[in-house]
Symmetry: C2
């Protein structure tokens, strides 16, 4: 099912040919002194650099039957850009290491490249793919590394939250997890019926399915939060509860989430009803969780969802003042539904 | 064969537990303002930054039956450090994205981490692993991204060679390709006989097997060559002939390799006889190919192997003045022997 008879495969074109086709799809990085094509790309930084890396593997992390290549490319970029934003940095460059079977259509890699480029242009203008690598693997896998420029600011770490601060969140919350549950419930099987089911699911739940397959986190709000004085910030990728507990442990405080604020701010997103459980434990939101001191004005887009308290007996994570188990996503321990 | 009954697996320990064990094996980067553990690491640069990425997948790129984890870690670091060196930069940091089956022993990942760390300490002191990711995949795969600091120097690109310059090479040449041929010829089958054969092969051909399984390229010579005035430089990873042709095409000159100089400089390395064919077409050497103007003094460690000529009718690559086909490694087109 991977390939129709008429499509050129990666194995037929070879590494150099494929890379030439992919590079055509990629806009430049404004920070690149030297772009792709040499042993390394060269980047200029105005301040300290931030760097993060993430891998996605066909099967555990994505299904080509759900993602088109374009959406997959968008997700690959967005999930890494959000880590850069969460340090208060402006994303400047990506490198992309792809490996795939020899019978992979070149068109699929071109779509992935187009999705990477679209995500950069929409979410982080000036950021671009500056280098990459293409190898052979039994399934499609992609490792993206993202760089950002702190532009003279100090990084916003996860250990700076202090009692008395406001906990805020920006971005979609719980939608991506809801989308994954829906996809597993209704589109777990491959084939024609599956593709029809996927189209119907997209029509019924466009926000949830879109958030799962091609998230669009509020990347520019990362630097804005840093400028506004955020004391601690994280990209929420493994679920709000788990990532909130990480800030709380690192900062040695308790983070008290308010269900009423969560409901008010995120109970309905783009017409999609989102239950509290999905908000707390859904994962893959890639929004920004940040703490702001009382005298700071959170940038528009951040909504209050709780308060920072002195470390409570109940633990790192509280929900309406009561202990809350910070469960979430672990690629080896978690079991996807369905 | 992946796992003995008594070993803890990655699936049992989970991502957080494995990462904690791995981080214990890794020394710091001298350039890290903030090390692993947040959304991103933070790095300071004295000049422009260089960045490169490379993926290795179990099967096409390495066999666990040949590499121990330690040697694999060394190779993962060395192959990326050499790309940084080839720009004339000093390597400062690595990120490592690993993905593996759930039944992978944690001990294997610890050995890989120890190998990464050893390579940094030996080949590029001050460089360290600043971040990573661990996911699930059907086979072991690793994507390493390396960063380096140009420290105010201009990057040494591949397009700066000029007629009249001397072509030099530093590092092992052809040994790694020879090692791969020997491994395929004598140790292609798995099992007990294979392990005994591998031990014997290591005894008979330690330099060739070592160069293939755990190369130790002359990383510090990259910045030294830049300071000495190198006009063009590349890491030789796909074979001298192919990579020399890339410099020649990018610089619009012909690169004329001298078989007598190659024989004199690299005919015997660490007691191992190396045929000219292995030097030219072997691949995976990760040494430095550089061009120096007549008034430059190549740093000790670089040996002359040819001359830069005005673009000749014979093509980009010449051998003793005659045309030479620049064949080499392509992960999709090349067929490994055996």
């Amino acid at each position: 099912m991977r390939n129709g008879a008429e499509e050129t495969t990666v194995g037929e074109l070879g590494e150099a040919g494929v890379l030439a086709r992919i590079l055509d799809r990629l806009g430049p990085s404004a920070s690149a002194v030297l772009g792709p094509g040499d042993d390394c790309a060269v980047l200029g930084f105005g301040g300290d650099a931030v760097i993060t890396t993430d891998t996605m593997v066909e099967g555990p992390d994505f299904r080509l039957a759900w993602h088109g290549g374009f959406e997959l490319g968008r997700k690959l970029a967005a999930t890494n850009l959000s880590d850069v934003a969460a340090m208060g940095a402006r994303p400047t460059a990506l490198t992309v290491a792809l490996a795939c079977p020899a019978d992979t259509p070149v068109a699929l890699l071109e779509e992935i490249a187009a999705g990477l480029d679209a995500a950069c242009q929409e979410l982080a203008p000036g950021c671009g793919v500056v280098g990459g690598d293409l190898g052979r693997a039994p399934v499609l896998m992609a490792a993206v590394t993202a760089l950002g420029d702190l532009e003279g600011r100090a990084p916003v770490r996860r250990d700076g939250a202090r009692a008395g601060e406001t906990v805020c969140y920006a971005g979609q919350l719980g939608l991506a997890g809801l989308g994954l549950s829906l996809l597993f419930a209704e589109c777990a099987e491959a084939g024609v019926a599956h593709r029809r089911g996927l189209a119907e699911l997209r029509e019924r739940h466009p926000a949830a399915v879109g958030a799962q397959l091609a998230p669009a986190p509020p990347i520019a709000l990362g630097a804005a939060a840093a400028l506004a004085g955020a004391s601690a910030m994280m990209d929420v990728s493994d679920g709000l509860a788990l990532d909130a507990a990480r800030i709380a442990r690192a900062s040695d405080i308790s983070l008290d989430l308010d269900p009423a604020l969560l409901e008010a701010g995120f109970g309905v997103q783009q017409g999609q009803r989102v239950p509290l459980d999905a908000m707390l434990f859904g994962g893959e939101d890639h929004g920004l969780l940040a703490c702001f001191p009382p005298d700071a004005e959170p940038p528009a887009g951040f909504l209050p969802i709780g308060a920072v308290r002195a470390r409570a007996a109940g633990g790192a994570l509280l929900l309406a003042g009561a202990a809350c188990e910070p469960r979430g996503w672990d690629p080896f321990v978690s079991r996807v539904p369905g």
